[in-house]
């Protein structure tokens, strides 16, 4: 099937799924810019890895299944891989961040709403960047 005789429903479905996925990914990264500390920012980009990649890969499955006239399912591989690995990496990263915060200020109560500062007066604590 050549590219010029695509049915309209396919074009609309593929385009809308692609734009929706891209828009959700953009919302996630805007959250990455705007949220205030690291423990809030961890949650934002998962919108792109779950819903964003889901919609875009769904559009790809639809497009290649119709144009190649056989079911095209190898996009499922990417989706499974991304949705399995993202929680693993983010959990490792959050544990590393928690560890670093505790190394900097061992006696401070961990307040997720504030930047981590020492609560002991007179004790100089170097912030590791």
């Amino acid at each position: 099937m050549s590219l010029s005789e695509l049915p309209l429903w396919l074009v609309l479905a593929v385009g809308i799924f692609a734009i929706l996925g891209a828009l959700l990914t953009l919302v996630g990264t805007i959250g990455l810019v705007r949220l205030n500390n690291f423990y809030e920012r961890v949650h934002a980009p998962t919108l792109g890895t779950s819903l964003g990649s889901g919609f875009i890969l769904l559009a790809s499955i639809l497009y290649f299944s119709v144009t190649a006239q056989r079911p095209s399912v190898h996009e499922v591989l990417i989706f499974i891989f991304v949705s399995v690995t993202t929680p693993v990496t983010l959990m490792l990263l959050a544990r590393a961040a928690l560890y670093r915060d505790r190394m900097e200020s061992p006696n401070a109560r961990l307040d997720p709403d504030a930047d981590i500062k020492s609560e002991i007066p007179g004790l100089e604590i170097r912030e590791i960047r």
Binding site: I19, A22, G28, P45, I56, I78, F81, L92, A96
Partner: protein, 93 residues
């Protein structure tokens, strides 16, 4: 006609993903600490992977799909290595 419409819709989706990549790049440059930068790098490679999937749909070839798969694999390994480095590097220091 419908091929043109599909081309422009996919281009719009790619522009949105490019804006998302710019937002992650801002957080990589600005990000106050190392874990913010690693988190943004993770989001950046996922967005690059999605842009390549859209490129593959625009050109109609499946070569870009394999590149996207490789980016997904190597990005996972890289993020895990950097997250481990954040813990180990501090232990020695």
């Amino acid at each position: 006609m419908s091929a043109d419409l599909l081309f422009w819709m996919l281009t719009i989706a790619q522009i949105l993903l490019a804006l998302a990549m710019a937002a992650t790049a801002y957080r990589i440059i600005r990000g106050p600490r190392a874990q913010d930068r690693i988190l943004s790098l993770d989001a950046l490679y996922v967005n690059a992977m999605l842009v390549l999937v859209l490129f593959g749909m625009k050109t109609g070839t499946t070569t870009y799909f394999e590149i996207a798969l490789i980016i997904g694999l190597l990005g996972f390994v890289g993020t895990v290595a950097l997250a481990k480095f954040l813990m180990r590097g501090e232990v020695i220091e």
